[in-house]
Structures are given as C-alpha cells and as structure tokens.
Symmetry: C2
Subunit: 218 residues, 2 copies
Amino acid sequence: MPPTDAASTDRTKVRRLADRGRYDRDTINAILDEGLVCHMGFAVDGRPWVMPTTYARVDDRLYVHGAVANFALKTLSSGVEACVTVTLLDGLVLARSAFHHSMNYRSVMLFGHAERVLDPQEQYDAMVALVEHLVPGRRHDTRLPRPDELRKTLIVRLSLDECSAKVRTGGPVDDEEDMDLGHWAGVLPLTITPGRPQPDGGEAVPAYLSEWRITRGR
Amino acid sequence: MPPTDAASTDRTKVRRLADRGRYDRDTINAILDEGLVCHMGFAVDGRPWVMPTTYARVDDRLYVHGAVANFALKTLSSGVEACVTVTLLDGLVLARSAFHHSMNYRSVMLFGHAERVLDPQEQYDAMVALVEHLVPGRRHDTRLPRPDELRKTLIVRLSLDECSAKVRTGGPVDDEEDMDLGHWAGVLPLTITPGRPQPDGGEAVPAYLSEWRITRGR
C-alpha cells in the first residue's frame, strides 16, 4: 500500500458492494474538502449520539470546533472514540423498478480518538482553516481570532489514520425484464448551489464570494 | 405539551444555544420530509458507527432500508439503540470576525430502538414511501416491489417518540467593535438544486421530475 493511502482496517473496509470502496488519500481528501458538514458520532454509556457540525481538513488531520461548553466536543476530548462521516449527495438514481432505486454519493467514514488542541498556534491555524474551508479566500477579509476567542473555543483534532471512502456513480442498474416497461429511468443530478449573497452591511460582494461555487471545485 | 409534540427528554433537549431548539412535530416533520440523507449512528462494543442512508417518514415512523446483509441494519434490528440525524444546510453565515462565522441549518436528532419490519404489507408500503420520498409522484411511474424483492430487503422502523430539532436562521451576530472593519458580512444561502435529468432510455422527462424542486417544497 503506498504511503499516501489511508489505512484500511477491518472497520473501514467496505463490505457491502465492495466495488464502491475507495482507500486512496486523494479521493478521501477531495470528499472531505468539498463537504461542508460532517456527522460526528460517539457513544456515552453505550448510547449513540450523532451531531452535525462543520470541520476543516489540514494535511492528515480533521479539526472540529465549538464552544468550550459544547457537550459533543467535551465528550470527544475526554478520549472516547469517534466516527465522523461526511456525505456528498450527487444525484438520485431512478430505476425502472422501485427496488433498484438508488443514490449517487461520495462519503468518507473516519474512526479515531479526538484530541483537544491546546497549542495556541495550532488553535489559531485551525480556526483560520475552518473559516477558509467554508469560503476560500475569506481569511483575508475577516478579523482573525484573538487569544481570548481561542480560550472560549474548544477545538479537537482527529487524525485521518483510519478512514475510507465509498462512492457510487453512474446510472440505474435494472433487471433485464424491466427494461421495456416504459418508465423513465436515469439520474437526477443534485448540486449544492449558492444563492444571491444576503448582505448585513453595505460592502460590495467580494469576488471570493461571488465565485464561491467555482472556488469549491464544483 | 400538545399531543402532536415529540417528547422532549433529557437527551433531546437542546442545551447549547437553547433558543435554537424546536420540539413541535410540524417543524420536525418538515425537516425530515425535506431531507434526503440521514446519518444513522449506533455503537457496537462501545464503538460508534455513523452510516449515511436514505429514509422515509410515514406518520410518526421513520423507515430505513437496505440489503438483508447490510451490517448497519442487521446491527440495528438486533435491538441496539440508534441516533438518527438529518441535517439541512441553508447557508453560510459570514461574520466580520472569524470567531463569529456560523451556518444556517435545520437538523433533527432522533433516538430510539429500530425494529425490523416483518409484515409484508408494511414492507411494501415502506418501500413505496422510500421511493416517493426521493421523488414525489414516482410511485406511479416505476414497477412496484415484488414479494421476492421484499424478502431481499431489510427494512427497519424507528418511532419519532424521542426527537428534537435545532434551527439557526438569520444573519451574523458580530461584536459591536467589529462593525466598522469594512469586511463583507452576511449570509450565502445554499440550496440543493437539480441538474438536467440524465436519461438511461428514450422516454421523455416526466413532469414530476422536471418539477422536482417544486414538489419537494423548495
């Protein structure tokens, strides 16, 4: 396995529909960099929690942040194991049979133990990365974090050591005997699209915002 | 509490930013009906898993399906507790400071024990609901499930007894001293938008598909 690959373990190995599994770091990074929301799972006394939040990838680390009182982050930084999933929905797959309906998607599932970030420089860099992840270019047009703000923020780091991606692309896979039923079949592509920016003040819409779709690679 | 409200328990009570909590069934149903993907969490030997999948709501029940060999569904139907989260991302909130950047979203978090659906009629109705949830109107233009297909499908049901919603709307909330920094601030609205249907055969694009955005209420 080349060194850029994420480790494929028993857990990250895609079992069902194994041809949809992807383990190379480029695929995993591209999904993480395009996504805006992750779903962060952990268990407390054996009971599961799944919390949506934003995140940012820096190299082989994923950062998640919130207020110091944030229940999920406090729990995660206490050392419990996490499973973080990012899912991009690319389309609805309409087959001739209800049974074969599907979705096109790209997802990443990451397992690991979160660690609280305590170093002020790493906290600062993570905060900037979190803003930059949402809106590339924004770091140059916002007031950057102050030490007192970093102290109010709980940031955790997960390493991308144990993760995998799952990808479905393409059209419906129908049974031969359904092909002539006359039902429309195919894919309805779906994209996250920005609307017109809604200003809170009088400043002109900056280029990095009007070009948001492009800069995020879609 | 009126009978249409979901039960607000210690777990579903929104603690951080409590004014974002919503407990009425109309809000919860609207989020579940608009979402396309849920993230289904459970723990095995104390270790968390978060799996993305589609779902459908029917009255006060949520249905999730997959192949009978599906690991997540087999685990869930063995009686372990689940946490299912649906998140709709409505926009990026750009504040004048990096610290106050946020997102507008609507999310539902549901706790419960999944039960495997064994009744063939309920299986059939759930399969139809799953297709209809993705593309309203599709049930009239697809071959509906056969008994052998239902036998190949594992469907689980979760009740909406213990759930809550969390909603953020509106613009950035900046510190007074940052208001005159000259940085653009406001909201970049985000919507899931359908592209041009990609046909697998020669049938004309049906109205329920070209009107998909409208029929799903956006």
